[in-house]
Structure formats: C-alpha cells, structure tokens
Symmetry: C2
DNA sequence: GGTAAACCTTCTAGTCACTAGAGGGTCAAG
DNA sequence: CTTGACCCTCTAGTGACTAGAAGGTTTACC
C-alpha cells in the first residue's frame, strides 16, 4: 500500500508518516520500482498504536519506549504500567495548574467594570506589584 | 540598570529579555558607552506586565495586543476584556480535553493485571480497532 | 502515443517561546 | 594587570509536526 492509503487508514498526514520514519519511530518500508514507499498491514498496526498513544498525550519518546516493550511479549507488563502512570501524573499536574489558572483568570475578568483603560482592573491585575505608570509624572 | 538587574527584578533570564527585544515585545533601551543595555523603571514595569501575562498563559501575540491597549488610556476596556475572555475559553477547552484524557488514561491503567506484555491491557488499549499482532501467524 | 491529474519523492524552512552555547568585549576589585 | 563577573552578538536546538518548492511516477482517458 502507498503512503496515502496508510495515511487514510490511520488518520495521519503523509508528511507525519514520513516524519515518523525519519525519527525512527516507524520502520522504513520497502520501496516499489518507482521509489514509492510500500507499506503492509504491520505498518498500519504500528502506526495506529502510535497515533492512539499520541492522542492520549504520550510523548514520542514515551511511545518509542512503549513500542519497544510491546515487542517483547514475554516481559512483564510493569514497565508499561510505569510509563502510563508517569504520564497520568503529568496530566494531573497540568490539570492542577490549569485549574488554578482558570480561577485566577476568572477573578481577573470578573473585576472588569467596562470603563476606560485608565481604570481597567484587568490591566491592573497584570502588574504584580505596586508598580505604576509614571507617564511623565514625577516618582 | 543593566540587563542582569532587570532580570533579577522581573524573574526573567537575560536571554529571554533579549529575545523579547528581538521580537519587538520590549522596546530597545539606550546603550552605555560599553554597548550595554541601559534599562529604566518603565522597562521593569513593562516586563513585569509581560511576565505576569505569560504566567497566566497569554500568548506573545495576545500580550502584544494587551500592551498596545494598555498604552491608550482613554480607550474602552472592552477590547482587553475580550482578549482575556478568549483566553479563558481556550483554558476551559484545554481543561475539558485534559479531564477526558485523565479519565481515559485512568481506565487504561486500571485494567493492568501486571502479567506479561502478551496479555497487557494497556498495550491492547493502545490499539484502537480490532487489529492484532500476527507475529508470523497466518491472517 | 499523448497528456493531465493525482499521487509520490526529497529537501528546506517555518511554527512557539524560549534556551544553550560559542566566541568575544567591558568593567570593577585587588 | 589580571581575575572574575558581567555583558555583547550570532547560531542552533527543543517537540511534534506542517507547509512549500521542485521534481518524478502512475493512472485514466482520448
């Protein structure tokens, strides 16, 4: 199968597939007489795995590790579990940060009285300390 | 004041300050005889504003707009409000996505029975459709 | 056989917001 | 007069792609 069909089957752009090959995430397929990449079912499987992991937010390096583990069928599943848990912790951390951010931004926006910039509370909120504009004024 | 002191006062690396100057976010200060950047209080204010906005997740382009608005003191505050609200919506969207992600990842991890890779539910969860490995097997 | 469209190839450079490093210049203290 | 802390410019790297240029291949149709 050509790269376009693999792209369709995995919902991935052809450029991304070539990029994955370039960084060694997807094995280079054989080429046709016309130098076209010639993929087989195993590539579809591998790429679907990769894309699904990306959807779940795993990094390329994490996926590289997962792919290596997935091939060693006798090995314990614990290493996989560890990668997934590490990723989950990262997501939880981001959620905490974003939630704090939302609260803060909501508070900032809630103070808007829709007056002029000069009395804008949002702008004021963006200056952390008691630093004020001195537009030609004397300090 | 030299770039190092501005860096300390604003909790920003000197490289970042030079970067902000390069992209036109911070006005180029005058230079000393020895070609050192020579900052004044206004720069501290401006950079604090910028850094605080970055902490709140505003993009450089949003900050560029906010800075332009902040200088026009007669103008209505609504444009500022609009930028902040747009950003808040973006944050809410990310929170939704990330929450869904956490749920999904928790479910995936919860299925781990700590056996071998061959029977690993996490690995299985990473293959979206009913695509299976055929390690030499006949399809 | 000709040709046009759809597909493929490689290579390069752009995105975002910095960060790191090379290779040098300046300045104050001892 | 040298040491060390600071500063300068310029270039390249990060992650995970994405876009575009300039060309080659295949397929469908006349």
């Amino acid at each position: 199968m050509h790269i376009g069909e693999l792209a369709r089957l995995t919902d991935t752009k052809a450029e991304t597939i070539r990029y994955y090959e370039q960084i060694g995430l997807l094995a280079p397929p054989p080429r046709t007489a016309g130098n076209y990449r010639d993929y087989a079912a195993a590539h579809v499987h591998r790429l679907r795995f990769t894309r699904r992991a990306r959807e779940l937010g795993f990094s390329i390096e994490q996926i590289r590790a997962l792919l290596a583990l997935a091939d060693d069928r006798e090995q314990s599943c614990d290493a996989v579990d560890a990668i997934a848990r590490a990723h989950l912790n990262e997501i939880k951390r981001k959620l905490t940060d974003l939630t704090a951010l939302r609260r803060e931004l909501e508070s900032v926006i809630g103070q808007c009285r829709h007056g002029t910039i000069a009395e804008c509370r949002i702008i004021e909120s963006l200056v952390p300390l008691g630093v004020t504009h001195h537009h030609g004024g004397r300090p």
